[in-house]
Assembly symmetry: C2
Homo-oligomer: 700 residues x 2
């Protein structure tokens, strides 16, 4: 499809790095901890005999040769102008691209290029053998170049190269003869196995022939490439490995270095490992691809799962602290905030399938360092002791903020950048119980019984410090807000989702949290506390039922000030009990669920929560800013609990959502989350990990 044009982040596990490529006419390449794509030209393609090179369109043609800075006047007036580069940039009509769960492959006639980003179920890291740890945690991406020249009458050359003048590169065989390829300092590089069919190029242009030193390179040049030869009559596939490496302490606030440095002492070691394990990585990637292919999802859904998983992996970061303990981070895409809790609670479904220990790691650090106590401001305007909650995040761009403080939350605000005290309290409860229940880590649940009890207290007091005034709905703002008020994770939407107090979305999420708390406390034989949870559920259910607008058939988004926005995330909070198989807990909620069903029936209409222009899902009827990861989460809940509410238009929107990502409105920034529902243009949350909520679709 020629309108497709999108970057994908090809990333190892836990390295906060990606090789980004795919946008038509766009640069990309090796990026370490960036907010968006790197700025390298990526040269991938082939030529038959002495024809022009045919390259995938992953580069911005250089305006003039970098050699001019050296040759000065001579190049300007003396020497003849250089021959125009014999490059032909393939247009999307000339090739096919196929993004799978762990593979991204381009084919054009006999030519093939692919990148593999396998992921696997990783047991507790501390139990892994060194060999297994090296396999799972190597900061390496595998790929290949291939050509079927069996019917060809002349030799074909394949090329993989990088052009970036700022990042001067070096030939790897200077330091490791077993590697044919290039590296940028000790930080990133690419290689294949040396062979008579492989040659290296480096120069101001890898497609010009001169100048060359004694081994055929010009080490001054800002462009490097591997060239592979496929004789007439032959079919060849060459392995490629792309590696990253960052030595030493990379964080501040908390001192930590990449965990992979425990098993690899250099970039060269990473690349050599990648070549040695290339077949195993490939096999694993193909297994993942086959699993997604075998699912009952349609092609658009499969694409969304695949693209989302790639960007998730690119945001992951596995550290070891100074004392040797592992430290898990998911960075918040372009914002690079550390372990934003609103994302943790959404990543939990994917992470519990693949690396469940990562969830526990984050929960523990929230308790250890990012919990706090506050007071609350009651609706009556008085102050009262509040309770425990957790920060929005743990810092930004490898900097861990001081204990009890996030990088995001500011004071005296009522919109974006205010505190999310209630939201994060719910996130700890939901993530913690979901982790323990799914992994059956009852020891951990037992150790955290006191934390759960503090959460029960805090939840109740935010409803109201006076138990007689509780109705289950958040009515108090944290004292941390100063003169402002709490917001929800939906910080950039309008008030329908942005205000925490008296908010429908947050109330149903609170219901979900109380259901999980009740089960966890019963499991812990804490009958008294479990009773408080049961009471909270019934109280909240009753209150919500009362908020239903019987006349319109809708719930208002905010139970205040005559709000009449209609929102899809009214049902988001059911995701957790559904995921844990607690459907029986929902039976007593039938009056609420029936009203939510009516609500949903009313909103899947063009101009309400389906965009009148695009047909895409709008989280709120009154905001064109819609978030794909949350759409995916709500789709899952609705397909499981309210499938009959999905109109054919609502079901058809997967195509719209996939097109948003794979066209230029979002495609320049890999997976995007905040999208304008009418135009499909990204308006925030680029390069974003949270799309892995789509993993829930595979559980349906």
């Amino acid at each position: 499809m020629s309108t497709e044009s999108y970057h994908t982040q090809h990333a190892p596990f836990g390295a906060f790095a990606s090789f980004t490529v795919g946008l038509v006419g766009g640069a990309g390449g090796f990026g370490q901890s960036l907010r968006g794509p790197a700025r390298q030209n990526v040269y991938v393609g082939f030529r038959r005999g002495r024809e022009a090179w045919r390259l995938l369109p992953f580069f911005v043609p250089p305006k003039s040769s970098a050699a001019v800075a050296y040759t000065g006047e001579a190049a300007q007036v003396g020497a003849p102008p250089p021959e125009p580069l014999r490059l032909h940039s393939l247009s999307p009509a000339d090739y096919e691209r196929r993004l799978d769960w762990a593979s991204d492959a381009w084919t054009s006639g006999g030519f093939g290029f692919g990148l593999r980003t396998p992921f696997d179920r990783i047991p507790e890291p501390e139990t892994l053998s060194a060999e297994a740890a090296r396999f799972h945690f190597a900061p390496v991406v595998c790929g290949y170049l291939s050509y079927d020249n069996t019917a060809g009458a002349e030799a074909v050359e394949l090329v993989f190269g990088i052009g970036e003048a700022d990042a001067q590169m070096r030939p790897l065989d200077d330091t490791r003869p077993a590697l044919a390829g290039f590296a940028g300092g000790n930080l990133f590089g690419y290689a294949t196995a040396p062979s008579p069919d492989v040659s290296l190029r480096q120069g101001f242009s890898v497609f010009e022939d001169v100048p060359r030193d004694v081994r055929g390179l010009h080490v001054l040049g800002g462009e490097t490439a591997l060239v592979f030869k496929v004789p007439a009559g032959a079919r060849r596939e060459f392995p490629l490995v792309l590696g990253f490496y960052q030595a030493g302490v990379v964080t501040t606030g908390l001192t930590a270095s990449y965990a992979y440095t425990r098993w690899f002492d250099s970039l060269e070691a990473v690349l050599q490992h990648g070549l040695e394990q290339h077949a195993r990585y490939t096999e694993l990637a193909l297994r993942r691809d086959a699993e997604l292919a075998a699912s009952r999802l349609d092609a658009d859904q499969k694409y969304l799962v695949a693209q989302a998983t790639h960007s998730y992996l690119a945001s992951t970061q596995l550290f070891q602290r100074a004392d040797g303990r592992l430290l898990w981070v998911v960075n918040e895409g372009e914002y690079r905030m550390v372990n934003t809790f609103d994302l943790t609670v959404d990543h939990v479904f994917f992470e519990l399938a693949w690396h469940p220990w990562a969830v526990r790691n984050t929960l523990d650090l929230f308790v250890e360092r990012y919990a706090y106590l506050d007071e609350v401001r009651t609706p009556e305007g008085t102050r009262a002791p509040g309770g425990v909650s957790f920060t929005h995040d743990m810092g930004i761009m490898n900097h861990f903020t001081p204990a009890g403080r996030s990088s995001y939350e500011c004071d005296n605000l009522s919109g974006c950048f205010s505190h999310m005290t209630m939201e994060q309290l719910l996130n700890w409860v939901l993530t913690a119980v979901t982790y323990a229940w799914r992994t059956e880590d009852w020891d951990w649940l037992g150790r955290n019984h006191p934390v759960l009890l503090r959460c029960v207290d805090s939840l109740e007091r935010r409803d109201h410090p006076d138990s007689a005034k509780r109705d289950g709905i958040l009515k108090c703002d944290s004292s941390r807000c100063g003169t402002g008020s709490e917001i929800t994770t939906y910080d950039s939407l309008d008030v329908s989702l942005g205000q925490a107090r008296n908010n429908l979305y947050l109330a149903v999420k609170t219901l979900g949290a109380w259901i999980l708390l009740g089960r966890a406390l019963r499991r812990l034989d804490d009958v008294a506390a479990a009773k408080r949870a049961t009471l909270a559920v019934s109280r909240l259910c009753r209150s919500l039922v009362e908020r239903f607008e019987e006349d319109t058939g809708f719930f208002p988004a905010v139970f205040e000030q005559g709000n009449h926005s209609r929102i899809i995330p009214a049902v988001e909070g059911f995701a957790y009990p559904l995921y844990l198989g607690m459907e029986d807990e929902l039976a007593p909620l039938a009056p609420l669920i029936e009203r939510l069903r009516k609500h949903l029936r009313g909103i899947f209409k063009a101009g309400v929560c389906l965009d009148a222009t695009s047909g895409g899902w709008k989280l709120s009827s009154t905001s064109t800013n819609t978030w794909f990861s949350k759409i995916a989460l709500c789709q899952h809940v609705i397909r499981r609990l309210f499938p009959d509410t999905l109109t054919p238009e609502a079901r058809a929107a997967d195509r719209v959502h996939a097109d948003w990502q794979r066209r230029r409105g979002c495609g320049a920034f890999a997976m995007c989350d905040q999208i304008l529902s009418d135009s499909g243009k990204v308006c925030g949350s680029r390069f974003y990990p949270r799309g892995v909520t789509t993993y829930l679709w595979l559980l349906e």
Copy 2:
């Protein structure tokens, strides 16, 4: 002068880093190992009361607030547009700038801002106390902000800040309460001492008031600043320190880390040291400033010395190797080549004054790793054994090329990027004897006696392998050139300076080398070898005299193919014997010197070696590409040996040369070397260290 607009690199010693600032309307800031200025907005200025901020013009006003990426739609349609920033960018007419040898100061009314980059005579590093080593090698730049508000009726605020969204910064007091300031990771930062008069700002804009967290910052924001308060009626000066830090191995090929990591364990340690030693650094900078001010140079020359010294320091790099030995590197400006030998030989005058051990360090590494043996191609077309020479450089961008190979030199070329075998052989001889003679390091000279003898052999054989055919002038090309031929350091000029064989410039430089060799060998009591040197001098002098065009009164630049270019560097080779006080050696060369005098008398005319448009010096009459560092070197030689040849026009050119550097043609890239003599525009060698040849002017 309002046409002035230029960046200056404010750099510590040996850190290959600079804080670059000064270009009107241009970004700059903290740059580590870059090819040109960084891309940070630098906010420096003041405001009275609640007036608009008045800032020096070191920033590119942001087009839209970075907050939009977070607030999405809300910022676009919901919220009122943010108030326009109350910033007033000062124009050059509003302030004065004064660049001194180790200070750069801006004043505007009562406001003052300055940066200090002191340098000192550094004894052998291995003999230094830890305290002295910390003082000399700290990767820190000191500065200040001041305001004289004695006559003011309201408080004034001063600001120093940085804006760069890619380099997320962090407040330093998270990790070191004794520092008020910000850092980008562990890599760079700025600080002052905490005080009630100092406050910190961080946000999407440091000039907007919201949002702010509990300590008044917004750690998400890409802009940071220190704000200093000066009460009405008071005069205040606040210290500022700017620091760099790069931990661990930063090189490849040869394994090395920054020497300063031996004495500083973190960026924080560097910044704190900078604050503690601020007064000493300031005192040292002012001493350097006073020395330059007291010299007999005119204002233009002083400016050139100051600007050149700044860019030299920015290119220096002091490493320690894995075995603990120190490793000295000067990077070649924008090209970032390691220890380019053509530069080493020009830096020697500055380095022998301030850190002479650095010269020895480089000479030793050339012998240890970057010497090679070749064959030569005779004029008769035969091959014969050649001799020892040295590579053009040792690598590029922290990568050391394999032994015996440079990053620059390629095969089968006759122009730019060919081999410089003879040039580098001369450079080793000249640098080595100059080092030993000046420092009286006779031990080292003795140890290198065998190397000198190999150089004598090699020099003779490049003249001609058959002693009967020798006339002192290079006639053989190295076999490394393949089908091409050797070039000189003047690679980007036309053939008048570019071709090595039969080249006037190189022949006089050869004369200089033989003079130094003769003295060194006599000192070593090697009578036989000294005799060969004496013979070579007289032979070469005679040959050169014969090449003089008695009809035109000029020397041709190349003794081949009817070349009639006229060149200034005909006298460059005298710099070394003059520097070493060997004037007596020149007496027997009177016939040559008299003809060179005639040559010079003829060339200092508009349209010959003075540019007809600008009046600047042209190294060659047939090339508009002229190199400032070489002009400066030749000016020194000519003022000492041929002062009577300088026409008033030739003497007036210092103003032209200074204007080239301080206006926009070169100013965007700090000190530039390759300049188009008509327009004053840089055409290569930006951000360049070699301008320290101007140091010779202070010896006149």
